[in-house]
Amino acid sequence: MTAIIHSDAPVDRIGAQVPFRAVRRVRSLSDRSIAWLFVTPTIALLLAINIFPLIWMIRLSFTSLNLSMSYLPLRFVGLDNYADVLSDEDVWIRLQTTAQFVISTVALQVIVGFGLALLINRQFRSHSFWTTIILLPMMLSPAVVGNFWTLLLQPQIGPFNYVVGLFTGVAPSSFSMTGEVALAPWTIVLVDTWMWAPYVMLICLAGLRSIPDYIYEAAEVDRASSWRQFWSITLPMAMPFLMLAVLFRAIENFKMFDMVNLLTSGGPGSTTELVSITLKRAAFEKWRTGYSSALAIILFVTVFGAANIYVKALNRVKQR
């Protein structure tokens, strides 16, 4: 991150400015009041739309509010909701499902994305055109993606099963990617990777391009094998970028709702029910507002905690 204040402004110019500054202050707003005037609307909006609701939700998480029975008087139940959430075996299973989803998608996307970045970095002709093509999926609406993949993955009419059938000889209608307990968890991983591997690729590409050529030239002079060059130069120098990509992907996928909701809506049974889907069901189908507020707060704390630890690790890698 760059410094907020540029300390490298020429000293003589700062000196020259002093007499004018006094004049300017009289004539118009001072810099300080402009600064506050400019920052306040954004902060106010975020306080109104993000922080105030968050505080309200913390309050609700200590109540028994159920919107389908809102005629009941609002009762404060202390930490009961938190106890309910944490002792609910289902919540733990959903968290496990979510963790498996996050770990497998991030791992797969790092492999595919980093691999593609290494190849594209060879700068073959027309690489820029093909890179743009590869980037398209990540720009799409996850909901729309989830929706149209249900067509592609239809057992009878979808092209996916047909192509799998062509290569393996399995009858296309004999398996359903979204309808089978054994396959559905892999299906959401597959579609998510289709969509987001380009994201990791783009960040890794920037990492690879940031490595100066002379380091490789020096390695050539020392007759380091290309395998050795990869492990001692490419990977460590691209690592901060790779970790940044992992951080963003992990947070995003921990929050995952839209794509999976449309692709499998948590099914079959609850094999692909990520914790966001559970939260949506508790809050907007069962209307257990108190309970779901507690769950939401627990999720916040998890994301923030994990992100903070990760950012610290990231900075340590950067400093090396």
């Binding site: 402009i34 060879r122 729309v144 449309l262």
Partner: protein
């Protein structure tokens, strides 16, 4: 001289032709596979109902505009006698519909939904870039106490799962009568986008040398005049790129839209999956809607190509 030429030929700076060809083959293969689902959807939009659900899936088919007609119209099924008794069809789409023993009963909801997407998208983008731009300028140029903490706070509002944020917003909007309104959705999307706008625009403004403004100030401009006449023209590209990123977010957003709108202010993403025909999803119409919905995104991606990296990393990675 020859030795130097030889060494660069071996170095990683310029990969050997064999390595390049190998890389090209794999990348082009991946790109082809990855784009196929999208092309399949674009093609499905031009299929007839029966071609869309044919087994085996059809690659070659007679193209038709039925999908698009179905997307934009509501139709009712009639007896052949009734259709024969009608005056001859005057428009091409009437003819197309009557082939299936149907008549056009009126326009579908797709146009209002599209308008919702446009209004909410542009409204929230405008506000986010305006507010975010002002804040970014202040963070970039002035000494603000706790600047780093404020910036982190602005970013952190984006880490919250949307479903979790929607719970109190839903209650708050119910009290304020903002559920299912343009205003409500624009405010919400502005709040989400403003964090991106501040971070991206701060990066762009940081790159404009402050000497320009300082010269203008010395020349007697006020801060605001210098901002308008010196900084703004220099920041146009950055503002445009930021605006497109905000627009893409609002355009694509689903979780808030599905939880907080149901009709009047519903945008395209929650609408598209519920385009249904007789018996289940009307796939050609869904594909047609998806195609129309995705075209602007594809154009934006091409336009944004140079700034894409910055946009997706909140300005953390530039270049």
């Amino acid at each position: 001289m020859t030795a130097a030429a030889k060494s660069t030929a071996h170095s990683i700076v310029e990969a050997s032709p064999r390595v390049k060809a190998f890389a090209a083959v794999i990348v082009i293969f991946y790109a082809t596979v990855t784009i196929t689902p999208l092309l399949w959807i674009v093609a499905t939009a031009f299929k007839s109902q029966s071609d869309a659900i044919a087994y085996p899936p059809k690659v070659i088919f007679q193209p038709t505009l039925e999908g698009y007609v179905n997307l934009f119209t509501v139709r009712t099924r009639q007896t052949p006698d009734f259709i024969a008794s009608l005056p001859p069809a005057t428009t091409w789409y009437d003819k197309l519909v009557r082939k299936h023993d149907m008549v056009v009963a009126g326009p579908s909801k797709v146009v209002p939904r599209f308008i919702n997407s446009l209004v909410i998208g542009f409204g929230s983008t405008f506000l986010a870039v305006l507010l975010g731009g002002l804040a970014a300028y202040a963070f970039s140029r002035f000494r603000i106490p706790l600047a780093d903490d404020l910036l982190f706070f602005i970013l952190s509002t984006r880490m919250m799962p949307p479903v979790a944020v929607a719970i109190p917003i839903y209650l708050m909007y119910r009290e304020l009568n903002l559920t299912d309104t343009w205003t409500g959705m624009i405010l919400l999307y502005t709040a989400v986008n403003v964090s991106l706008a501040v971070w991206l625009l701060k990066g762009f403004i940081d790159e404009i040398p402050r000497e320009y403004e300082e010269a203008a100030l010395v020349d007697g401009y006020t801060r605001l005049q210098a901002l308008r006449k010196v900084v703004l023209p220099q920041a146009v590209t950055g503002i445009a790129a930021t605006a497109i990123f905000c627009l893409i977010f609002s355009w694509n957003e689903y979780a808030f839209a599905v939880l907080l709108t149901s009709g009047d202010a519903q945008t395209m993403p929650p609408f598209i999956p519920f385009i249904i025909g007789e018996g289940g999803q009307d796939w050609p119409a869904v594909a047609a809607a998806t195609t129309l919905f995705v075209i602007p995104i594809v154009l934006f991606t091409i336009v944004l190509r140079r700034h894409l990296l910055r946009g997706i990393t909140f300005g953390a990675v530039r270049k």
